[in-house]
Amino acid sequence: MTPERKSGMLALIIGILGFLYILIFPKSVLVVYLGTALFTPFILYGIGIMFIPKTRRRKEGLLPFRGW
């Protein structure tokens, strides 16, 4: 797994756990809103990383061949 995809998976797990917490526990509306502000970027990044296309690189860190 590439470091990018690994970071995406981790972000998705943090985001989902965070959302579960703010959906169930907080009594204050302000905490719910600020929790949403905190965990939405993790979800956005986690989902986005799942959508990125398969790499054209043969090996990690190498640029794809673009002609002479």
Binding site: S7, L23, V32, A37, F42, Y45, G61
Partner: protein, 295 residues
Amino acid sequence: MELYNLKYVMDALAYSLYAFLVGGLLLGLHRKIVARIQGRPGPPILQYILHTLKFYFKEITFPITAGNPLYLLIALMSITVWMSALYLGVVFNTSLLILMGLYVLQKIVEHGCGLSSGSPYGKLGGVRSVFSAAAEVPLFTVMGIIYLLTKSLIIEDIIRYQEIHGPIIFQLPFAAFAFFVLLLSKAPNSPFAIVKDKSIVSGYLTEHFGILESLIMIADGIAWFVLLWIFLAVFIGPLVVSDPLMTLLGMVVLTSLISLICALTPLLTPNHSVMIQILISALALVDLLHRIFMG
């Protein structure tokens, strides 16, 4: 297990989506107006939102020089900062001081973005973002002037004050001007936009591409909405912000005015940009001291 807070989370996400769409369209309008004034057709108004979507699905790799996890987390922090500003300012009408603190956090985002990338262009952009903190000095004095007049820094109280006494912009024109310069310094292609100067490629954003750039663009869209809303709420008041359509109209007018200035002025050098902003803050300070000592 009951999800008591589901409604609030949905509301919060809906507010953010609305702010991003409106902010994104206004930034698109900004580019269109600048282009038309310069005699170019310019991109469609939707371009900012289309770019955000396009970058969201682009492949990324972490640059070999990038300092992770800061390189990644700083893009996420950018959205957190402006979503928090949206909720605390626009939704809950809390204190201007908290918004000021969040605006300072934005400087940390710019600085962190530049320095974590490892690119010399990014680093220059990050360093310039520290210079451009001079734009926040007038904000301190503006808050002092507003406090002297309204005896509160809570946005709700300031709006209520204007219900009785009329828009503050007529009583504190210089404070409104100083705040307007802050808005101008945040606009793309503005004379004060030294952090994204093309001579340093894309400034602090140079090495943040693909989905990370998309996330920062989402944050910038929300930031534009929030900053325009604060200006309208603090200086014009319920006349505009009590009606969503009037708020939109006010934002379009402000964006058009800023676009006009951006199209007609060259980018200042960093030292000139800082000098002008310090000059404005000095004048705002004189205004504040005059109000303190002369009543």
